[in-house]
């Protein structure tokens, strides 16, 4: 097995294009675990942490570009990023533990393509895009376009994600991510929900994005959930409708981490609780009557 440390995106693309069995290594918190467990045996490991542009967080068009090798611990220390997208930063802050977060990346969380990945619903809700470099150049793809199934992505041969872009946050907007785990940390989401929304001048929700994690083979970006919020002030009736829509959208399985009935129930509970936080962050009030 070869270990490669390219210093430019072009070098990385060339290495990947030349060897279909090669794997990208970002933080390694998924990759190395699978390697040691004997689940994968790549011919080469392409470490992207020496590629300078992939290790920085920078402002762009009022939004934030986060390099694919940036560990979540750095995002957590970035006050301005956190002020704009607290839900996304908090979602990454839930990953594993302090030690894991010293390594784990958003892009790795996305490309690992687990339906339970914590940052993915938050990124989807935030309309994040992934910049992809490959032999044919560079393209930007909405985050929801990357995972295609459990452990599968839409990346082509020779392609890798170079950064994640969080767009400029509209005025009166707020986002939130909540997950359910049976313990308080070091666990995998049984259910997750990311919500981002914008209020109009009257305090009514004018735009909303709701993403549901761990209740289907890929994270669900739910229009029907968003519709229960849009045009309302996030009153109790709207939140109940949101919970019902989330439970209806969820297509979970029974497994060692939870039952179908449990996941369907709890996804509604989390949607409601996340919506309340997002509304408060957007400057609105929750819990009122219609």
């Amino acid at each position: 097995m070869r270990f490669e440390t390219p210093t430019s995106v072009d070098q990385a693309v060339a290495l990947l294009a030349a060897d279909p069995e090669a794997r990208v290594l970002a933080g390694g918190t998924d990759l190395l675990v699978r390697l040691r467990a004997g689940q994968i045996a790549p011919s080469a490991i392409i470490d992207i942490k020496r590629i300078r542009e992939m290790t920085v967080i920078s402002q762009e068009d009022g939004g934030w570009r986060i390099g694919a090798a940036v560990p979540s611990a750095e995002m957590n220390e970035h006050a301005a990023l956190k002020a704009d997208w607290p839900g996304v930063v908090e979602s990454a802050d839930l990953i594993g533990s302090t030690q894991i977060q010293g390594r784990a990346t958003l892009a790795g969380n996305l490309c690992n393509a687990s339906p339970a990945a914590d940052s993915v619903p938050a990124m989807m809700a935030a309309r994040a895009t992934a910049r992809i470099a490959g032999p044919d150049g560079t393209r930007d793809v909405a985050v929801e376009g990357i995972p295609t199934g459990v452990g599968k992505t839409s990346l082509e041969k020779g392609e890798l994600v170079t950064s994640i872009f969080l767009p400029a946050k509209p005025a009166h907007s707020g986002d939130a991510y909540l997950r359910f785990i049976p313990r308080t940390e070091m666990d995998i989401a049984v259910v997750g929900c990311g919500i981002s929304l914008t209020l109009d001048d009257q305090g009514k929700i004018s735009d909303a994005r709701v993403a549901l994690g761990a209740v289907a083979p890929t994270v669900i970006l739910s229009q029907s959930c968003a519709d229960t919020l849009i045009g309302t002030a996030g009153d109790d009736a709207a939140l109940d409708a949101l919970a019902a829509a989330a439970s209806a959208e969820a297509k979970p399985i029974d497994d060692k981490r939870g039952t179908i009935a449990f996941r369907k129930d709890v996804v509604g509970v989390l949607a409601k609780r996340a919506a309340k936080i997002a509304i408060t962050r957007a400057g609105g009030k929750t819990g009122g009557e219609t």
């Binding site: 467990a37 049976p182 313990r183 666990d187 060692k256 449990f262 129930d265 509970v269």
Partner: protein, 747 residues
């Protein structure tokens, strides 16, 4: 039972909290655990395991593996040519290396030794096993049904009445009086069924050993175990070796909690070493630890208790069905003995059924059988208290066993501490603290026998007057500290003058396993007596020097003194002075003691816990936890508190999230700490330990074992707390969020 050992005294060392002697080595990473030792020319062992829950092994082709470069030995059951006569030994052999069939997912079927780990792994992949898959059963109630797949026919004992499935291998019965007439006197009877899942001891260090075994039958084994004498005896029995030719040394141990009181793979390492002619290191992966070593049993229990409206229990019965795993044996009898042990009952009957299933052989786990013995009983008592509007502590006090009570399992108790723990609980501020919405408070009592057993200790007075103490029990809970303290106390010397080591099997006589909470009690007793033996010798030497009768010499403060004015006027001789001239007064000085220690002194605890239940998700948060337990005498209170807290922490895991999850295919689905959810630090509140000291008459200092009782009450205490918080009685463990939410919705 000897009752004359205890005399009250003022302690100088015992009861203080000195720094632990193994601390620096451990925090600097120098301590050597099972996998930390290597030998020149060493090979790596690896084990091939069955992917099937139950399968006949029709053939194993190892030719490809044997032909691989770097592979020095490949073994299957055919290499174990010695067939042990004893059925227990034969079962251990079969568990270490499957014979005609694989009995559970993870059962060893072959093993290799190779020059590297990766070659060993590749060699395993090259072994071809021809399996005929058989129907399997992994649930204890299913396994008892007529027509269930039989794990091994012909193992049923005579104690099992006719008509039971062959998987039921044993039945035990305890109690006295007539429960039926007792129920007639009751104002309320509650009858319920309960289930608990199989749980893992959760030790951090996987099993590991380094073995050599030469063609002349001489061998050495370095191993992570709770009992290296047991390992020696079992390996000798399984392989047909002389115990005296096999020297076993215990490594430091990263936890065991009962999981390392058995032999799972050491004979395999020895056989690989014999066949390859090289030292072989064998280290299990976490996955192997889960799939192929023993968790504790899962259980299915029926309990019926009758109570008067004043809270007196009039009649009680319980039937325990415990899963023994793939071999006969089991611990249902212990559940049946322990369940009602805290109470003074006129009419009580219990029975236990040992049931074989296609799971790994169940192992001991901290007070084996007692937690699932107590959980159903304490739950039903709590429900009776709720329904009769009675105080759960007062009700337990009303029924509490005390000195002279005939226990539910037979013996009559000497002085015991149950009432003291209940009284301490009643007067603790925790009991009267307010509770918020969705919160509940639970209490429960627990009992454990404690154990003594075969013990040898040697205490050497060195030429410079320092003391070397050898004991034969791996130090899991701080026993080196406690032994050092007891030796220093008895000799009257400063603590730093004594060092305690764990001797190998060739250096001391037989010692029982570190289990049954026996070590501080039994090895402590032997240490005190070995010190007394050395003191007698030192008194003789002083008497010889002074030319007086040894009877006329006293020992105090680390020195010999003339007993009184009549004995003569001599300045005291210190241990240093006596040691310095030992060569001239008769030779080296050493004390020793060998005993089958009796009088361990039973132990009781009461636990109190507050939880909060999230009514929308079923998540349980443990808010506050207090442990009240009788320690007899706390030799090193830090360690005693650690035992109280550790048992409660493990109990919290068992109660709320931990379980072995088997699929329909009979395979274990959560063989690792990600999905086998032991509590993490942030899941736990501060667990407050309250030490009670009711001296054990069977120990010179009054010591009782403390290591196991602390895991007996938590399952019920937490279940009672959650049931009160949720407003619905929970009868199945773990009380994981899906279960709690389903119970809330079913209301």
């Amino acid at each position: 039972m000897p009752k004359d050992e205890y005399t009250s005294r003022d302690f100088k060392v015992v009861g203080t909290r000195p720094i632990r002697p193994d601390g620096i080595e451990k925090v600097t990473g120098k301590a050597r655990y099972g996998a930390d030792i290597s030998a020149p020319g060493m090979l790596w062992g690896a084990i091939l395991r069955s992917p099937h829950a139950h399968a006949r092994i029709k053939g194993i082709d190892t030719s490809k593996a044997r032909a691989m470069k770097g592979v020095k030995a490949v073994i299957t059951r055919a290499d174990f040519t010695h067939q042990p006569e004893d059925s227990g030994m034969a079962d251990i052999l079969d568990n270490c290396m499957a014979g005609d069939k694989a009995r559970y997912d993870g059962h060893a079927v072959a093993a290799v030794a190779a020059t590297s780990k990766s070659i060993a792994r590749a060699a395993l992949a090259a072994i071809e096993v021809d399996y005929e898959v058989l129907p399997h059963v992994t649930d204890v109630d299913e396994a008892m049904k007529t027509g269930a797949p039989v794990v091994e026919p012909g193992r049923q004992q005579e104690s099992v009445p006719e008509g039971y499935c062959e998987n039921v291998t044993g039945r035990s019965q305890y109690g006295h009086g007539d429960p039926e007439s007792g129920f007639e006197q009751a104002d309320l009877i509650v009858e319920r069924s309960f289930k608990t899942a199989a749980t893992h001891q959760g030790y951090i260090e996987p099993h590991a050993c380094l073995a050599t075994l030469d063609s002349d039958g001489q061998g050495d084994l370095w191993v992570c175990t709770q009992g290296h004498y047991m390992v020696r005896n079992v390996c000798a029995g399984v392989l047909g070796l002389d115990a005296g030719q096999l020297r076993v040394t215990a490594s430091e141990i990263g936890g065991g909690f009962g999981g390392k009181t058995h032999v799972w793979m050491e004979p395999t390492a020895l056989m690989l070493a014999r066949k390859s002619g090289k030292p072989v290191k064998l280290v299990l992966s976490r996955d192997e630890v889960f799939r192929a070593t023993g968790p504790t049993a899962s259980s299915s229990v029926d309990v019926k208790i009758g109570m008067t409206s004043e809270g007196k229990i009039t009649g009680a019965t319980a039937t325990y069905r415990l899963q023994a795993g793939a071999y006969p044996g089991g611990i249902a009898f212990l559940s049946a003995m322990c369940g009602f042990a805290p109470y003074d009952l006129e009419n009580v009957r219990t029975e236990g059924f040992e049931v074989m299933t296609n799971r790994p052989k169940a192992a001991a786990y901290r007070a084996p059988g007692a937690p699932m013995g107590a959980y159903p009983v304490e739950s039903v008592i709590d429900e009776l208290c709720q329904k009769l509007d009675l105080d759960p502590l007062e009700t337990r006090l009303k029924n509490a066993a005390r000195e002279g009570t005939r226990s539910s399992y037979g013996p009559t108790y000497p002085a015991i501490g149950l009432e003291a723990t209940l009284e301490a609980a009643k007067s603790h501020p925790h009991w009267s603290a307010p509770l918020g919405e969705n919160q509940g408070r639970g209490v429960a009592c627990g009992f454990w026998f404690n154990f003594g057993g075969d013990t040898c200790v040697s205490l050497m007075v060195n030429p410079d007057g320092t003391v070397s103490l050898s004991e034969g029990n791996p130090d899991i809970g701080g026993s080196r500290a406690s032994m050092t303290m007891m030796a220093a106390e008895e000799l009257g010397v400063p603590l730093d003058q004594v060092r305690t080591i764990i001797a190998d099997t060739a250096s001391l006589g037989q010692n029982e396993v570190t289990d049954g909470s026996r070590v501080t009690f039994a090895v402590g007793l032997a240490t005190i007596k070995a010190a007394r033996h050395a003191i007698e010798i030192m008194k003789e030497r002083a008497a010889m020097t002074w030319g007086i009768d040894p009877e006329a010499v006293d020992w105090r403060d680390g020195a010999a003194h003339p007993a009184g004015p009549n004995a003569g006027k001599f300045p005291p001789m210190t241990i240093k002075e006596i040691a310095a001239i030992a060569s001239n007064t008769g030779g080296p000085i050493a004390g020793h003691h060998e005993v089958n220690a009796e009088g361990a002194g039973v132990s009781f605890a009461t636990h109190m816990v507050d939880t909060e239940v999230d009514p929308e998700t079923g998540a349980v948060k443990v808010l506050r936890y207090t442990v009240f337990q009788d320690a007899g005498k706390a030799v090193h209170p830090d360690y005693v508190e650690g035992q109280f807290q550790g048992g409660a922490a493990q109990g919290i895991g068992w109660a709320i999230n931990e379980e072995y999850i088997y699929g329909d295919d009979g395979r274990l689905q959560n063989a690792g700490f990600l999905d086998y959810r032991i509590p993490v630090a942030s899941d736990l509140p501060m667990i407050e330990p309250v030490i009670l000291e009711i001296p054990n008459p069977g120990h010179p200092y009054g010591v009782r074992g403390v290591g196991e009782t602390s895991i007996v009450p938590p399952l019920a205490a937490i279940a009672n707390s959650v049931s009160r918080a949720a407003g619905v009685r929970l009868t199945s463990l773990p009380m994981s969020p899906p279960r709690v939410l389903a119970a809330l919705k079913a209301q």
